[in-house]
């Protein structure tokens, strides 16, 4: 009879430091965030959409964008979720809320955290305002969270 061999598991990992060049558009955005506490969008000269986060090319028009737009640091919650489980990658401890937020002046929404809020009272359409971090990690968490207004 064939001997049964126990299934062996090979434990492994990849531990790699990444460091991405942000490019001129993102560099400008993060400079404004860190140094001026301003949130910038970018407008396509062809279709007039204002993108946040900003990027160099409008995909729809295949057009280079150069027109910077200062957005309000306030906007509305387009959609949201409450996270109830733990993952090492999470920026804050569960339970916490992620939301799609469209700032006044922008045509696109972006994901960020909601804070200083009763998780049971978050509503689509709720008005929220940016709260800047005093830590300045050099990424989108230079904005620490958005709180209700």
């Amino acid at each position: 009879m064939e001997k049964q061999f126990q299934d062996i598991i090979v434990e492994s990992k990849l531990d790699i430091p990444y460091s991405y060049y942000a490019g001129p558009i993102a560099s400008r955005f993060y400079d404004a965030l860190e140094k001026e506490r301003k949130i910038l969008g970018i407008r396509c000269g062809s279709c007039n959409r204002v993108y946040m986060p900003p990027r160099a090319t409008c995909g729809t028009c295949f057009h280079e964008m150069e027109d910077w737009v200062e957005l309000k640091d306030e906007g509305e919650v387009v959609n949201f979720t409450i996270v109830h489980y733990e993952e090492p990658i999470h920026p804050v401890k569960a339970p916490f809320a992620y939301a799609l937020i469209r700032l006044d002046g922008a045509d696109t929404a972006f994901i960020h955290l909601l804070g200083e809020v009763d998780l049971g009272r978050i509503r689509i359409g709720m008005r929220v305002k940016a709260v800047f971090s005093d830590k300045n990690p050099g990424n989108i968490l230079d904005i620490d969270h958005f709180r209700p207004v």
């Binding site: 299934d7 062996i8 090979v10 531990d15």
Partner: protein, 153 residues
Amino acid sequence: MAETKPRRISYRAVLPFRYSAGRAASRFFAELRDNKRILATRCPKCTKAYVPPRPVCGECFEPLKEWIEVGPEGTLVGYTVVHFPFLDPLTGRERPVPYGYGFIVLDGAATKIQHFIEETDITKLRAGMRVKPVFREKRQGNFGDIESFRVVG
């Protein structure tokens, strides 16, 4: 507007993995760990004995069911001593240099395995030398149970 300095966004990824070794590897590693024996699977059609062992012969597309012992000694076919340190993503740190590295045909096997070579003086290594595996005292059931290969004779 003042000239914007290029920014970098940094992120350290530590990604854990748990690979199922599979039937062939589990049997191979168990034999390595418990008995310090090296096994291969032999093709009934072309008679090649494969290390690492595997369930199918790539050339014949025949299932491999016959297990035989190979080595433990073998012949060093290609070798080098590495002097350039690089980041070992398995540890997150640079692997210390110099270290020997080479390809060995174990006696009875048709394929080569790659592993560390104990010798780090390049002038003392030659293709064709006989080598034998150095087993770790504490073995865990993976390929690292062989620490390196040592020149014999």
